[in-house]
Symmetry: C2
Subunit: 357 residues, 2 copies
DNA sequence: CATGAAATGAGTTGCGTACCTCAAAACACC
DNA sequence: GGTGTTTTGAGGTACGCAACTCATTTCATG
């Protein structure tokens, strides 16, 4: 009836006795320090495994004395997503402080490979762990690998560098996110047929390109009645996005769906609203005529648009979860603890009006 | 550029010096022990606040010595949701063990108020914290309040007892979940009009009743073209659900949407499949004729149904997150740490084929 | 001012680990 | 058998706090 899941109460001393060695030797094995014969190592590890011994994290943490230093390397400039990350770290302040963790924010030009690589190289040795919003480029990859070799724990955030030897990626699968957006647009458009527009920041950004890829995949295979128009590159800028989209909406009156891949949401919404206003004065209206609008991320703006019904769904990747997951993963890596992969996995949230967080 | 979020490195000794008292007094204040004059208490608390001092959790944990005991009180009988909770706790075994946390599972008849209340009363004093899947009933409420008064930390799981003095609720807002289901059915049905069916376990269950309430709310206010049929009570049983639904589908050929509130999914899917087969042989087919099917929870079964396209969306409440959140909340409560409410909040996940976790 | 109660100080011990030093033992090699 | 090297043992200190004891001071009250 009452099954105990974690009964351990052994200490290093018990393991030492079990293995027939001294405490010092167990310590050497536990921390991969040199000066222990291979078969002695095995004896100790066996004893540890046999008793499924877990070092007491509190004791380990206390004994090491020094605080740990982590840093988030993020894009400079006003970026709502990054501001949210910072805000969530602020909410964790007491939690961090109670564990003697120092977390800093470092702003850098993430979109300039050379600058980013240089920034990263400069941090070597200063931190126990880094969470990096990086772009996938050979020089960045090299910088990350150097950090890893120097013993720094490295986690990529939001945008991965899979070719590097980073320890972990905290973020979503962007192809799946694009597929999800495609399925939503297709299903919410319903029986209507027509054209679908895509507004992205730039197709050069890895995450945007992947989302578009996934989106087109679904549209092509499952919604043959909908034809996807060429991607508009709004550069995540409101003005530019609005202008491009307004022109497109004018040219194609039969646009029934819209996927906004990145930022520039304000401009996209403006263009859509203007179109809706025009149609209202000219007679046509109603939900049947409205353009299905799917975008990314829950911000103050997208929240408002969802509530107003302008936007139909937002694909979200919970920045709070990402911030906390990055810290937890770095901490687990630094301590040599296993990572709870299920916990740290970032899910693709579909947010509609009624499940707004 | 590099803003430090958590610089603390003070100790109790520093606080004692700051406040002009001894270590013992600080300790008394920190643990609400008697024997300190009110103004002395204030002086100490001021010093703590002024330096935003946080006791080192590792040191505190180490010093207290005793391991903590938590228990999950859950329904007996074969219940996939509860089995998942148990599985996720198993995945945390190393994490728990490293923190000297003992977590047990206690099965009880959750649907019998008297039995549940008696079980809870019997646990008093044995555990530092309890996570309880409870139903809202006066005797259960009283039992929970007694536990709280005795110093046990109590968290309700999945199903809340808001009238009790439980410390925290780990679960979703079921009315919002119902609303979300309603919005999904309505939007996915598209331009078609017709009838919508609801299959629930029982309207007597608080969570099911709340979901139905939210569902009807949205249907009534936003989808006037859809009329909701009376709720079928399938008692979470496959056979019964299938039988009831098959009869209903036969009687109303114009059913375009279906909301399955609880379990019995296998039966519901069977009834829908049979209907689809009939229509295929008789000519009509295609997505336009299919019944939109929205249900709850991601299990092996619903996952398969989503992939096959039989089911259109599942409202999910991530049992892994719930299990981990319950443990974290109990631990934070026991330690007197603040709870990261943003982190522990259970979100209403919309799961469709392309964002299956 | 005497008395007893309340408030406070001073000190100790122990939690389980990290990290260090120094000496002793085992071993390899010529 | 002697040399030098590697491996191991023994022991200590420190980390920051909880929890306790016991002595001392402060205070209110008669």
């Amino acid at each position: 009836m009452a099954e105990t899941l974690a009964p351990t109460a052994l200490t290093l001393k018990d393991i030492a006795r079990e293995a027939g060695v001294s405490l010092a030797t167990v310590d050497r094995v536990l921390h991969n320090r040199p000066g222990v014969r291979p078969d002695t190592v095995r004896r100790v590890k066996d004893a540890i495994a046999r008793n499924s011994f877990q070092p007491h994290v509190a004791a380990a943490e206390l004994a090491r004395g020094r605080a740990r230093r982590f840093a988030f390397v993020m894009p400079s400039g006003p970026n709502p997503f990054m501001q949210q990350i910072e805000a969530y770290l602020g909410e964790m302040a007491a939690w961090l402080s109670a564990r003697r963790l120092n977390v800093e924010m470092i702003a850098t030009d993430v979109f300039e490979p050379a600058a980013l690589a240089a920034s990263l190289e400069a941090l070597s040795g200063d931190y126990d762990g880094l969470a990096v919003v990086a772009l996938d480029h050979p020089s960045v990859r090299a910088a990350i690998n150097d950090l890893v070799d120097a013993g720094t724990k490295v986690v990529t955030l939001v945008s991965d560098v899979p070719s590097s030897r980073r320890h972990h990626y905290v973020g979503i699968d962007n192809i799946a996110a694009g597929r999800t957006a495609g399925a939503l647009v297709g299903r919410l458009v319903g029986q209507r047929s027509g054209k679908v527009a895509i507004v992205a920041g730039s197709q050069g950004l890895r995450d945007h390109a992947e989302r578009i890829f996934g989106f087109n995949q679904v549209m092509g295979s499952e919604f043959p009645d909908l034809s996807v128009l060429p991607v508009l590159e709004g550069r995540d800028d409101d003005g530019r996005s609005e202008q491009l989209l307004a022109r497109l909406l004018g040219k194609h009156p039969d646009i029934v769906g819209l996927y906004n891949v990145g930022a520039g949401t304000q401009g996209v919404a403006k263009a859509l609203n203007d179109k809706a206003l025009n149609e209202k004065t000219s007679g046509a209206a109603g939900r049947d005529k409205q353009v299905v609008f799917v975008g990314h991320d829950v911000t103050a703006l997208t929240r408002r648009l969802l509530l107003q019904g302008v936007m139909d769904a937002a694909i979200s990747q919970n920045p709070g979860h990402e911030a906390r997951a990055a810290v937890r993963v770095l901490l687990a890596l630094a301590r040599g603890e296993p990572i709870l992969s299920e916990q740290e996995k970032i899910r693709i949230d579909i947010v509609m009006r009624d499940n707004l967080p």
